[in-house]
């Protein structure tokens, strides 16, 4: 069993915490795991990608290439379009229904594509659209968008709830614990 999960988005959206949560869950389950991150210049509002790979055997390469991802979690619509070629046949794409204009769109040299979700669905992609920003605001802060999305992703994975809760306890600072627990539950589709 090998699983490849990608977390993509815009630098500054909190994908590092998301990959940390998943890494902690996978560790608890006793798998071998590798997580590959982006630091430095590309973080500054650029397109960012994190790879999480786990296996009951050994994980070799820390990166995921085109056609290899079982799950892609996209924090933004355009980034979902950019990275969809990395999805494996029959893989799942979990997308935050939020648009963030990149600089070429802001300056008018390019247009933000219309109806990205529709076009992805017509390409045959198994798409799960999540209104993560709205749910994060409901939980108490836009900053919890990342954890809402991880709640949504948890539904597409087989790990028991207590592993996720333990990961949240380990990765989130005490004062944001309640916020993030609520955000995770809302992402899972549960109301308090």
């Amino acid at each position: 069993m090998n699983k490849n999960v990608m977390i993509v988005g815009v630098g500054g959206q909190g994908s590092l915490l998301a990959s940390k949560l998943l890494g902690h869950v996978v560790m608890q389950a006793g798998y071998d795991v590798k997580v590959s991150e982006v630091h430095g210049m590309s973080q500054r509002g650029g397109s960012v990608v994190t790879y999480v790979k786990y296996s009951d055997e050994k994980v070799w390469s820390p990166v995921i290439n085109e056609g290899e991802a079982d799950i892609i979690i996209s924090f933004e619509l355009l980034e979902a379009a950019r990275w969809v070629s990395f999805l494996k046949e029959g893989g799942t794409l979990v997308v935050n229904n939020q648009e963030i204009a990149p600089m070429p769109v802001i300056t008018g040299t390019a247009a933000y594509p219309e109806d990205i979700a529709g076009k992805l669905r017509s390409s045959g992609v198994n798409l799960k659209l999540v209104d993560a920003l709205a749910l994060a605001l409901e939980a108490g802060s836009a900053k919890a968008t990342n954890v809402v999305l991880m709640g949504a992703v948890a539904n597409a994975m087989d790990f028991p709830e207590e592993m996720w809760q333990k990961a949240i306890d380990e990765c989130v600072p005490q004062k944001f614990l309640e916020l993030n627990r609520k955000a995770f539950a809302l992402g899972r589709g549960r109301r308090a």
């Binding site: 630098g11 500054g12 890494g23 902690h24 560790m27 071998d32 795991v33 590798k34 997580v35 590959s36 991150e37 982006v38 630091h39 430095g40 210049m41 590309s42 973080q43 500054r44 509002g45 650029g46 397109s47 994980v59 070799w60 390469s61 820390p62 990166v63 290439n65 085109e66 056609g67 355009l78 980034e79 379009a81 950019r82 969809v84 070629s85 999805l87 494996k88 046949e89 963030i100 204009a101 990149p102 600089m103 070429p104 769109v105 802001i106 300056t107 008018g108 040299t109 390019a110 933000y112 594509p113 990205i116 076009k119 992805l120 017509s122 390409s123 045959g124 992609v125 920003l133 836009a142």
Partner: protein, 580 residues
């Protein structure tokens, strides 16, 4: 106990376990976290030095003084520190000395793609290259054993993918190292010609002994599977090859990449039918194989440029891969940009308006080169903005200095901008230098530096006064501006360009991402006032865009800096409290 550790954190763990006492480094992606993580161990004294040369000299001094020492840097940092490296190779050490150098194949966050392995060969020092975090921890400890056994500094070569990937590491206890006796020994430590000549003989003999060591060390490992294909690889390329070929190939995984073994490679080559050398960047291993008479397939198949992947190796060996899903239309790029509220934005906006030539430097502010600000003409290396501008103006003469500026960050100025400024003052230049003082080393992720008043460990300390420093080297015109104030910034630049003597403008405002910087509420658009003129978009702020002919502010990004409101002629952008 196993922990999931970043490659860089695993190096730091190796430093801790090896009983290292002193770490001195300069930040640089992808090496920075080694030193940040090492600083968290109370047993390790860790510091940020002003540049890599100072850092390496501190580490050399510590090693001679009898404590295991480390310095870390990115690949281009080793260019700065090359001077001490080549001679500490001759003198050797007392306690162990390891130099961590992180290459950046693919240039994720660098200005070139140089291959640091050449430094090991030319400085004649051993180099180890880990392939995951477990290796990173183990090889760091092995490097200290080699350093002390062979009386040599050891290079530990990391790369972006190894530095910034997490994998499992088995943790061990720290082994404290006693302070070694320091014995005065000029023939060993004073590298003047008479002594250095004798030491060069020792260095060549050491390389011969290290080559013997490379034949048998467990750092180099053979994994036998099917012998139709043999692969020689190191670091991340070993992982990619193993993922693609699995048991269909046998592998010689090189953990020690200088000096390279001879007999081990010949024996491996003799037992496989087709032998590939798979290495990113230059043909270091391949050239060695050919030199010892081993025929391999290398750079005729695999590229010289960029980062490798399992897909690249698969496609070079077996042809194109089928990709199941493709988005049906063009996707706009998303290049990195200056953050919303970045204090550099106001300065670059003014420079763009003034149409001056901008001699640039290395840092977040290099992003000022991107559209729509497009306010940078050159970027070469740390410090080159200041010295390069002087050369540019001397070459062009006339009123060139009245139409050009250098821009350099606070940390970069201390790193190597100050020497260029001394050169301008001393040699009667008239150039204008702008120091972008955002009170932190920004691009590498917020490291303290000598201008911030805090050490790496977070303790308050002496703070370099940029004003006094510039005055002390002979600059009579030094002034400070707030880059959020566009009119003031523009006036200052115009005035300093007009005078016939050198000047320094300090554009001072802390990085908007610093925790202590309080943000204002996001601004609001008064939709009725907005004419859709897009004047606000000329700032290149990621938080403002125009949708359906009206400006829109992204509340999750806007920090209320007010630059866009300043530019709007129709009072269409306002602070929240005013709009209520």
């Amino acid at each position: 106990m196993k922990e999931l550790l970043l490659g860089n954190d695993a190096v730091a763990r190796g430093l801790y376990e090896a009983g290292v006492a002193i770490v001195s480094s300069y930040p640089g992606t992808p090496s920075t976290e080694i030193t940040e993580c090492a600083a968290k161990y109370p047993e390790i004294y860790a510091e940020w030095a002003p540049n890599e040369k100072v850092a390496m000299e501190v580490a050399i001094g510590s090693a001679i003084g009898g404590r295991r020492a480390f310095c870390g840097m990115k690949h281009v940092g080793l260019n700065v520190a090359a001077d001490p490296l080549f001679t500490v190779s001759y003198s050797g050490i007392n306690a162990g000395l390891v130099i961590g150098v992180a290459d950046d194949p693919g240039m994720h966050s660098s200005q070139n793609e140089q291959d640091s392995r050449h430094y090991a060969a030319s400085a004649k020092v051993p180099m180890l290259e880990p392939a995951d975090s477990a290796d990173a921890c183990a090889f760091t400890k092995a490097a200290y054993e080699i350093s002390e056994q062979f009386d040599t500094p050891v290079l530990l070569r990391m790369s972006t993918r190894i530095s910034h990937s997490q994998s499992l590491v088995e943790l061990s206890e720290r082994e404290e190292q006693p302070l070694r006796e320091y014995v005065k020994n000029p023939a060993k430590y004073v590298m003047m010609p008479a002594f250095a000549k004798a030491k060069h003989v020792v260095v060549e003999e050491r390389t011969r002994r290290l080559t013997d060591f490379a034949e048998t060390t467990s750092l180099n490992q053979i994994f036998w599977n099917d012998t139709k294909i043999g692969v020689i690889a190191a670091g991340s390329t070993y992982q990619y090859a193993r993922e693609v070929l699995g048991d269909r190939a046998s592998y010689l995984k090189l953990g020690m990449i200088h000096p390279l073994p001879v007999q081990l490679i010949r024996d491996f080559a003799a037992k496989v039918e087709t032998l590939y050398v798979i290495e990113e960047l230059d043909d270091v291993i391949e050239t060695h194989c050919r030199k010892i008479g081993v025929n391999v397939i290398g750079k005729e198949l695999f590229p010289w440029i960029g980062e490798f992947s399992q897909k690249l190796i698969e496609e070079k060996l077996f042809g194109p891969r089928k990709i199941p899903y493709a988005y049906p239309e063009a996707i706009p790029n998303r290049p990195p940009v200056l953050c919303a509220g970045c204090p550099h934005r106001g300065l670059f906006f003014v420079l763009h308006q003034l149409k001056v030539t901008v001699s640039g430097d290395i840092g977040c502010y290099t992003l000022g080169a991107s559209a729509p600000l497009s306010a940078m003409d050159t970027t070469i290396c740390m410090g080159a903005s200041v010295s390069g501008l002087h050369g540019f103006n001397m070459a062009r003469g006339g009123d060139s200095a009245a139409h050009s500026v250098a821009v350099i960050g606070d940390s970069t100025f201390i790193h190597s901008g100050i020497t260029g400024l001394i050169n301008i003052a001393y040699n009667q230049g008239t150039s204008t230098v702008i120091i972008l003082d955002n009170s932190i080393t920004g691009m590498t992720g917020h490291q303290q530096n000598p201008t911030t008043g805090y050490t790496l460990k977070g303790d308050p300390t002496a703070k370099v006064s940029l004003e006094k420093l510039c005055a002390a080297v002979g600059i009579n015109r030094v002034r400070v501006v707030d880059p959020y104030n566009l009119a003031e910034t523009r006036k200052a630049i115009e005035e300093e360009l007009a005078v016939d003597e050198p000047s320094v403008i300090i554009s001072r405002r802390p990085c908007a991402l610093l925790k202590y910087v309080k943000h204002k509420a996001p601004l609001k658009i008064v939709t009725d006032n907005c004419r859709g003129c897009k004047a606000c978009l000329r700032l290149g702020c990621p938080a403002i865009s125009v949708i359906d002919g009206k400006a829109v502010i992204d509340n999750t990004q806007c920090v209320g800096c007010g630059l866009c409101a300043d530019l709007c002629k129709f009072q269409a952008i306002t602070a929240e409290e005013e709009s209520k």
